[in-house]
Symmetry: C2
């Protein structure tokens, strides 16, 4: 079983790292449908001012406000563990470490940014936020943070999940949030989809449209759980801590690995190592590996284009890897990885060859997760299980090559609210699904047509 | 929100504390049905030798084997937090602290002893253990520990829970345990109950009988999750850490509070403070408060008598507070508190007036738990929620009396696998249930008749 690095109060960062000034190329701007760049002020209708400032910031370090750090201290620093028993089972010369974000009350890395966002929202005097959620990881993190800062939260939850995965809904309600199955009759967007089909199962794209419309119309603020720079900046507490902690083992990663939905948890872990590499502080030639599902192959089969962030077209155009905003992700259990796009910063780094990407099928992913649970005792979230699978593959490769490499991966959440998915895996009823080349090409073509790219 | 005490590696104890030599009176022996004391050797059929030695030990300190401590380090020291925002919401002058055992991979304090027991079992060469579980907290802790030590585990799970609460079953299977709905056709006891009723919903008492019979017949070892001395001894890591941690706040408890099923988590927290009090190290005249459900009022309405540990009569007679082994606990959601008896050590201390007991109804308990979740972000297990309720009541009393007392309670587990119960509470469909005086009297009378007490 694992060995744990020290976790001391001083390790919790007092500043977040922002990769933007360290990128190999300037980040392409967000664009309006007419091709003009979006001005920061235009974001302030939706987001708290300080968050917009961070979104466009060129500063490398951004202070963590003390009240935010106080909340982080409830569960941070999170553990960094060496998975020694997994190494033994794999008979690999590799050393495998994981950073465990599942110890937060909502059970994932998402509160790292939810707490920061809700702090700024409450400080700027807004009494209510809106957001969307699929299976509920992000929504429950918002509900948690909103309750701590005394802010009201309305969460538009994809109707299919609302019905089938009631537990995270209950968790949100327990923390005092209002949870609305989406599409709903609260918004014009929702009513349009309900008119088409009164039993519409909903989608993340529709839920985003409803949350945005609600915020714009009522003067509430909107909060987003991934993709945008300010979100990824908040997540760097993960990697800043990990870079301290792994040195306690006298070690340094050759590979930093993370599952990638919108890219926030992976970026939160690898950015600080990227910075160390740039300034010559990295102790090895560290490589960065993003992991995604074969069913939603944004980085491995998508294209680096301008595309919409949502389905209905309420967000700006973002230069990113995308399989097209119209792509309908198959119902894999890693709900947090069912996103057609990817953070613009991460997309740029993949395009520049600074980060590589791999994709796995869900059955092999659950197989790796089960192995991990039995070896180390921790049950991975289905999203995090993708990183487990990649780490296991790298460790087996190290064994074939006889190289004692060091692998560090992000265990972004625990799987205690995903046991139904494990049950399906163990009963052998999980399916592997893969989009056809035509499906992906057609969706990318439609996205490209938006700006005649 | 809360403030967390330091959690450093050295705080994880290298020895457990045993209260037995410090009790105000000798502990009455375990008896056979004929009234003769059970000899330690007779326990060795069922339990690992070292565990039997600990069960009868008069030593005050028992070393924690290094491999057990290594596993503890996966999640220990657990956090000790001050619930500052709860204090503010209650407008109380009291300071409220909680020790949070929910950070273990199975989510409760139970692995503190499961890991120790499985270590000794594997060290003594047994390849398989059997046990019983209700909702699955104990069973999942055994599955977790068994997987880490490479031991097979068979868990007899109360059939009603097996069907209705599938998630902890899945968790046990994920960790590699075999889960058998009880009553089963594997044992004579099980077949007898199935013959009576092929759809028998089962009970903890029946599941114990099956696990014991299976172990005796196959040479496997049996492991138990509460009540016995050796189990409570292992749990003292909780209080030993807490006694260090609370001093970081420059504070010391006036009240140590814990929910009580078999009594292991509460004892694990209060024993070390009891020891400090005895040896003059306690900084205040600390009081100990056990909390139980009104539906299973062992300490508040039971009697201090010799009674069976199980329903079918396979265990010895234990001198303890009991509402009678035939008592059928109503289906409250705090499954871990549905036990007719209570640890013999705790019973003796209650009988001697060294520990007091209070009982609450489940709706008021869930109300306190929801308040806590919104104030502090942590979702209490339904069992732990009883301690939350008691802490809130003590804090309100302190407010009425204008006394700035310090309250320390045991948050023995998180409630992420109990969200269905919270859902019922929030939908207003939870019922409060209470046994009649006749029901309790009749059951106690039947228990007393066993030894003509
Ligand atoms: C546990 C977990 N990991 C990873 C993700 C993927 O999101 P991101 O790539 O932004 O970290 C999610 C999203 O919900 C998640 O819940
Ligand atoms: C979270 C939790 N707390 C408390 C208990 C009660 O048991 P004990 O009194 O032995 O601690 C249980 C039993 O399953 C439990 O799961």
């Amino acid at each position: 079983m694992g060995v744990r690095a020290p976790q001391e109060e001083w390790m919790v960062p007092r500043r977040w790292y922002n990769i933007v000034p360290d990128l190999p190329k300037p980040l392409p701007p967000y664009l309006k449908p007419n091709g003009e760049p979006v001005r920061p002020e235009e974001f302030e209708v939706l987001f708290a001012r300080e968050l917009v400032r961070q979104e466009f910031s060129q500063e490398r370090w951004i202070p963590v406000p003390p009240p935010v750090r106080d909340v982080y201290l409830l569960w941070r620093p999170t553990p960094l563990l060496r998975a020694r028993r997994l190494e033994e089972l794999l008979k690999t010369p590799a050393r495998i470490y994981y950073k465990f974000e599942g110890v937060s009350p909502p059970g994932s890395h998402k509160p790292n940014t939810a707490v920061a966002q809700l702090y700024y929202v409450s400080k700027e005097g807004a009494g209510r936020v809106t957001t969307e959620t699929g299976a509920g990881q992000w929504g429950s993190s918002v509900a948690f943070a909103a309750s701590l800062f005394g802010v009201k939260a309305t969460v538009y939850m994809v109707r299919a999940s609302y019905g089938q995965k009631p537990y995270r809904r209950v968790l949100m309600e327990l923390w005092g949030a209002e949870v609305v199955p989406s599409p709903s009759d609260r918004t014009e967007a929702g009513r349009r989809f309900l008119a088409e089909d009164p039993n519409h199962p909903g989608s993340l794209g529709i839920a985003i449209s409803e949350a945005v419309e609600d915020a714009v119309k009522t003067g509430a603020k909107y909060v987003l759980g991934s993709v945008l720079n300010h979100v990824l900046i908040h997540q760097t507490v993960i990697g800043l801590e990990a870079a301290e902690q792994i040195r306690y083992f006298g070690d340094y990663p050759d590979y930093v690995v993370g599952a990638c939905g919108g890219g926030s948890s992976f970026s939160g872990l690898f950015w600080p190592f990227y910075h160390e590499k740039r300034v010559g502080k990295a102790e090895r030639d560290v490589k960065f590996v993003a992991v995604e599902p074969v069913a939603v192959p944004t980085l491995t089969r998508g294209e680096y284009i301008y595309d919409l962030g949502d389905t209905a077209g309420l967000t700006p155009l973002i230069k990113m890897y995308s399989v097209g905003h119209g792509y309908k992700p198959p119902p894999i259990h890693a709900g947090g990885l069912r996103y057609h796009g990817c953070a613009p910063t991460l997309s740029l780094l993949v395009a520049e060859g600074e980060v590589s990407a791999v994709a796995y099928r869900q059955r092999e992913v659950f197989e790796a997760a089960r192995l991990f649970a039995q070896a180390e005792g921790v049950v991975p979230a289905p999203e995090s299980a993708h990183a487990v699978k990649a780490a296991v593959e790298l460790a087996l490769q190290a064994k074939r090559e006889g190289r004692p490499v060091t692998i560090l991966f992000n265990m972004s959440g625990h799987g205690l609210l995903d046991l139904a998915a494990y049950d399906e895996y163990m009963r052998g009823v999980l399916q592997d699904v893969e989009p056809t080349a035509e499906e992906i090409m057609a969706n990318i073509a439609r996205a490209k047509a938006l700006l005649r790219q």
